[in-house]
């Protein structure tokens, strides 16, 4: 099976043709927005951790290198701790156009905006010349995520997405699942899927480290809440098994590292991977984008009204009420499972087909709205040091 994608340097393929305008820190965010405003394909992004949070750099570099991005403009104030030139040099290793505007050096905000618009328009014109070409489905990298979960998530949307994950892996594609917090309680079945002992140890560490971060004495967090119990979830094991179902049942090839100074991308060759990161939806999606994910498939019970700047999102709900109320936001109806009208397998196949269509350019319902999210999670290196997490 094939999809129509954009060829990128370094033997990569993209499914979108974005010109990214990156405000290196929040100071330049308004100017970055004005640079991108109204230019087709231009997407402005920033983060809100200031300019000395060096640990966000690997994610910023990763998203700019994501094959859905055709070219990148970095917008610097000039005095940031995160310097534009080393960032540009790292991004340029992807072989795609990347340039810098330094507001203090160019002399004024107005001049920076005007020059930025010229550059982004030029990058967009170049990107538009690219035609989609056929590529085998094995070239796709798909992320899976859930949020706004309810009792239907573990019965319908997540298991159906799991069928899709297995179909993709069987077709030679790669699937990535982040969110170690939700695997707490499902260590055994997940570790049993490791391709070898080394990966088994990585999986246990992936979950164990996350448990340490959320059980700091005096600042513990509950892994279950009243809403879970009222919805029918009895134990953490049950909750976690339902959540990890979206990752299917194939062998785990590795845990992608995500450190202060390094973010591992999905290796070529397909297969199922876990990724170190967070559970907070928009930030988790940025981590996946930075690892090279093309499309994110999102399971929700209660609904979700967001998209991602780099990766189109396919939203799946298993809740019949959510489908009837929020159907115009949901790409796939999995509530047919709850109503006895369709098998989990059949819904999984529909999600697979939708992902291939979106890879070829089908506009998702979220993309139709034209808005998107972009945020970065800050894994505070001080906490990692205090908890002795290496």
């Amino acid at each position: 099976m094939e999809f129509q994608g954009f060829e990128r340097p370094k033997d990569l393929v993209g499914v979108r043709n974005i010109v990214l305008v990156v405000a290196i820190a929040d100071c330049t965010e308004p100017a970055a927005r004005m640079i991108a405003e109204g230019i087709e394909g231009a997407v402005p992004v920033t983060h809100h951790h200031g300019c000395i949070a060096m640990d966000v750099v690997p994610t910023l570099v990763g998203v700019a290198r994501n094959p859905n991005v055709a070219a990148t403009l970095l917008l610097a104030m000039g005095c940031e701790g995160i310097q534009a030139e080393p960032l540009r040099d790292e991004i340029s290793k992807a072989g795609k156009p990347v340039d810098v505007i330094n507001i203090q050096r160019i002399g004024s905000t107005r001049r920076a905006i005007s020059r930025g618009r010229e550059m982004v328009s030029g990058m967009g014109d170049q990107a538009k010349k690219q035609q989609r070409k056929p590529f085998d489905v094995s070239r796709l990298v798909v992320g899976v995520k859930c949020g706004g979960s309810d009792t239907t998530s573990g019965l319908a949307a997540n298991p159906a997405i799991g069928v899709m994950s297995d179909m993709l892996v069987d077709a030679g594609a790669a699937v990535v699942m982040i969110e170690p917090i939700e695997a707490i309680g499902a260590e055994k079945p997940l570790a049993a899927r490791a391709v070898n002992e080394g990966v088994r140890q990585q999986i246990l560490k992936w979950i164990g480290d996350e448990e340490k971060r959320w059980t700091v004495p005096g600042a513990e967090m509950d892994f279950m809440c009243r809403g879970n119990i009222e919805g029918g979830l009895t134990t953490l094991e049950e909750k976690s098994l339902g959540a990890i179902h979206k990752g299917g049942h194939r062998a785990v090839k590795g845990v992608l590292k995500n450190k202060e100074d390094y973010l591992e991308t999905v290796p070529p060759g397909g297969g199922f991977y876990l990724q170190d990161g967070t559970h907070s939806e928009p930030a988790a999606m940025s981590y996946m984008a930075a690892a090279g994910v093309h499309i994110i498939v999102f399971a929700t019970g209660r609904g979700g009204s967001f998209g991602h700047a780099i990766c189109p999102m396919v939203k799946v709900t298993g809740n019949p009420d959510t489908w009837s109320r929020m159907g115009e936001d949901m790409d796939i109806n999995a509530s047919t499972i709850m109503e006895g009208k369709e098998s989990i397998e059949s819904v999984g196949k529909r999600i697979f087909d939708e992902v291939v269509a979106v890879a070829s350019g089908k506009v998702t319902l979220g993309e139709q709205l034209g808005f998107y999210n972009f945020s970065l999670w800050r894994r505070d290196p001080r906490l990692e040091a205090l908890l002795k997490i290496k």
Binding site: T235, I337, E342
Partner: protein, 102 residues
Amino acid sequence: MKRAIMMDERDNVATALASLVGGERVEVVSSAQEVLREVAVSDAVPLGHKIALADIAKGGAVIKYGEPIGRASGDILVGDYVHIHNVESDRVPLTGHMLRSK
């Protein structure tokens, strides 16, 4: 007839796909929607909550998704409502704080 879904063939519980009243008979279906059997529920079971498909002695594993999700904290009989009143986690015990938190 209302339905309950058995997520894996190894499971000893099924999850109600509709709210059930005590004494009601329910069809147990597989993930492929095939009717596997019928079971009469002993008590009311809300949508998304579980029903025992077999007797589970105190200390026995409660199995969903083909994996243990906890242990029976008392004897459970086929058709019983299965939840926090008769199951304990092997991983994280339920606390009063969890029951209060949203």
